[in-house]
Symmetry: C2
Subunit: 466 residues, 2 copies
């Protein structure tokens, strides 16, 4: 500010904290501006002081975010889960979010597990599948523990085809299921015959055809594709129309000319991807999983390496606390509902897809995606405002993922848990909403904030590691 | 404004017109705000008064804009120019912009005519082609006189394949060439062997394959496609990456499975469109041509139905003055240059592509397309500001073409020539830049304003029709 402005303009009192001070100024008709300031979240003062005193966190975070941003994800193959996912067994069923038991599972997780048991031929009926779940006939494990991510219920069963995403700059590999489309689909907890038939088609036709096409056209650089999609109005989470279009452009010549695959199958696969603008979501998620796994395990780092929900709990993990989860009850999503569904039908927040927000996409990139508000609610200007706010709790601006509307500023990336508890700004996530009962499916989409409790627990635990 | 604000806040003097009044306030340190006001363009006061007195223009404009917005363009076919374009003869060469002779033609028009003569086999060498042009061996006519539009030089010769776009809501038909890509291409005045070979491939392979694919997949609703593309960061003029992606999605299943076309040709066509993000431009233009032709010929209407440039003149037409052109020297474009090229290499503004701005796209929709500034220059915030300004000179907000960033407001559409001369706000156009010499090609892209002289002449002429 120039010295002239100090002389020429009337002074304005800036206030922070207790509202009564600001109110006193307003009552006296004095100009004032209140900073949106809150004290650090309760119970974290000591931990923050200890981390500051120790002085390790800054350099640890630098290392962790550098590792996260160095990853170059490439889609290289589609394979069957049991053949490639480390630690996967014939009775293992992966799910979204932090660890969970059948008893604590919400409706959509139970519904998707029932569907997956029917699909695997391990149960002949809904009742039988529930019985198997109850007596512990399957092993449940978080996707995140197996280099894998899954949207919504996130169920990955042994026979499902999974995308294989490799780090071209390192040796990381990550996996995700292939996206089924919207509506009555397994990941939203539906398990009717059409859902099971689609899953069977996906392992018999979709997976092998995409795998053969990738062999024909070569690996697909997912980072370049996602970066382009952000310039085309995607956010990388609930709007993937541009990325899906670009993926289909990249696969298309192979689908036209690869005669090693029956023509009818190639045409069917083209139509399936063409008809599903969310197809890229799962691949963006696998790309994100590579990035967070690369950033994990840096002693002292407060970088958030996981935000994931299982429909019961919301869980986060930090780089400096490794495999440990910090959980809180999963919140209810504020959203737009399909048809006659209302908030009363909504299951609490669910899915590994908040990995997109963990790597600077989704709710963190909504300024690039004004059209998304038609799907998740809110306004375009609100989307810009919320993205701007996320810079307050992140360590970097993404070098590849840029927001044209903010004059090509990089998206806010790398959530620092200490900044979340200091500022009181919670990470914004956009997400689909599943029905709370098993067997129904999608009921809407909306916005939600990661619970503060996860971050306060995590910061306290991080301080204890030092 | 609430009455409290009048009492509580310091008054600000609003000024308009002569700057000395505003300056006097500034000198006295009084708060003031200058409106960007200019008197109507010189020589138009009488015409504006006469139009206002007559009182016909408002209802005439309502009729004209309604006709423009009622059009529903569909891509239905690709055919050979001589077979379908009304009035086309074997020696007719259509060009962009208002009427032109060989003598007054700029470099890119001459270059493209030379190339077209070589392509048609009417000349064996550059020299022979120039000779034919000079002695009048071909008939030159504006595309706009033949239900056709062409970008840049806009040359349409008898053997070229043209897209056929029909009005699903009426009986209009419009035509455009197919887009060749960027760089060394005929429409920028290049005519080297690679240019001619590409044109030959376009009539032998591209045209027939797209035509056969359209028969297979059915007509493509261009308005729906363009509307979606605006939600994906396109402007419809110099950024057509999303629209081209969506077109390829629409054509793709046909390219995969239509075995009536040789597989190698289908694969080549997929790759050609995939490699050319400007492919949709020509189709957007043909869709626009349908709209402006539907709006033409309404007595008393000051709606602009044509803005087009031939590299020498910038010309406009109004609905109420029918076929009459109002021209001014084509301006130089302010832009970003490729490689070592500079403004000194630039030909004046050229092409029928300003039809996109005439129908509420291009420069009028740049707020939807922040990423376009990487191609044409300027800033994202400037793009929003300029779109907002275009609402001052337009009759409507487009019901289908919406701008998410402006909370889904329709694009400003239907330029009213009387509003242009009253406000002094000139229509903003974004455009490619051709080298001024024949045979070179594209040198950059940028922004330009339609010359005020066209609008003053048009308004005076419109008043004379009453």
């Amino acid at each position: 500010m120039s010295i002239e402005r100090l002389i020429d303009e009337e002074p304005i009192v800036a206030t922070a904290g207790v509202e009564i001070l600001q109110q006193a100024l307003v009552d006296q008709a004095a100009s004032s501006a209140a900073a949106e300031w809150r004290p650090p979240a309760a119970g974290t003062e000591d931990a923050l002081a200890r981390l500051a005193e120790q002085g390790l966190t800054e350099s640890a975070n630098k290392t962790a975010i550098e590792r996260m941003l160095a990853v170059r994800p490439e889609l290289v193959d589609v394979a069957i889960a049991r053949d490639v996912i480390p630690g996967m067994t014939d009775t293992m069923f992966l799910h979204a979010g932090p660890p969970l038991t059948w008893e604590r599972s919400s409706g959509p997780i139970r519904g998707a597990l029932i569907g997956a048991l029917l699909y695997e031929g391990m149960a002949a009926s809904e009742e039988e599948a529930e019985e198997i779940g109850r007596w512990g006939g399957i092993t449940m494990a978080p996707c995140h523990h197996h280099q894998t991510v899954g949207p919504m219920a996130g169920i990955v069963s042994p026979s499902m085809p999974v995308a294989v995403v490799r780090d071209a700059n390192g040796d990381g590999i990550a996996y995700s299921t292939l996206n089924e489309g919207l509506g009555k689909v397994l990941r939203y907890g539906a398990y009717s015959p059409e859902v099971i038939e689609r899953l069977q088609w996906m392992d018999k036709v979709l997976g092998p055809v995409v795998a053969a096409t990738l062999k024909h056209v070569g690996p697909i650089d997912l980072q370049a594709l996602i970066a382009q999609a952000l310039q085309m109005g995607d956010d990388g989470h609930n709007r993937n129309r541009a990325a899906t279009s670009l993926l289909l452009r990249a696969l298309g010549s192979g689908l036209v000319e690869n005669e090693s695959v029956p023509l009818a199958d190639r045409a069917e696969v083209f139509r399936f991807i063409e008809g599903n603008d969310h197809f890229m979501l799962n691949l963006v998620m696998a790309a994100g999983k590579l990035a967070v796994d690369a950033a994990s395990g840096v002693a002292g780092s407060s970088l958030v390496t996981t935000m994931a929900r299982n429909g019961t709990d919301f869980g986060i993990r930090l780089s400096g606390t490794g495999e440990q989860w910090f959980t809180a009850p999963a919140p209810i999503v504020d959203g737009l509902y399909l048809g006659a569904f209302t908030k009363d039908d909504a299951n609490p927040d669910i899915g590994d897809s908040a990995i997109t927000e963990t790597v600077g996409l989704g709710g963190f990139a909504m300024a690039a995606s004004p059209a998304i508000v038609g799907f998740v609610g809110g306004t375009a200007s609100g989307a810009v405002r919320r993205t701007r706010q996320m810079y307050e709790i992140t360590l970097a601006e993404h070098p590849a993922y840029q927001i044209p509307q903010l004059e090509f500023r990089g998206t806010p990336v790398g959530i620092d848990a200490t900044m979340v508890v200091r500022t009181g700004v919670q990470p914004q996530i956009n997400t689909g909403i599943a029905h709370k009962d098993p067997g129904i499916g999608m009921v809407g989409a909306g916005l939600v904030e990661a619970p503060m409790e996860c971050f306060t627990k995590a910061v306290v635990a991080l301080a204890e590691t030092l």
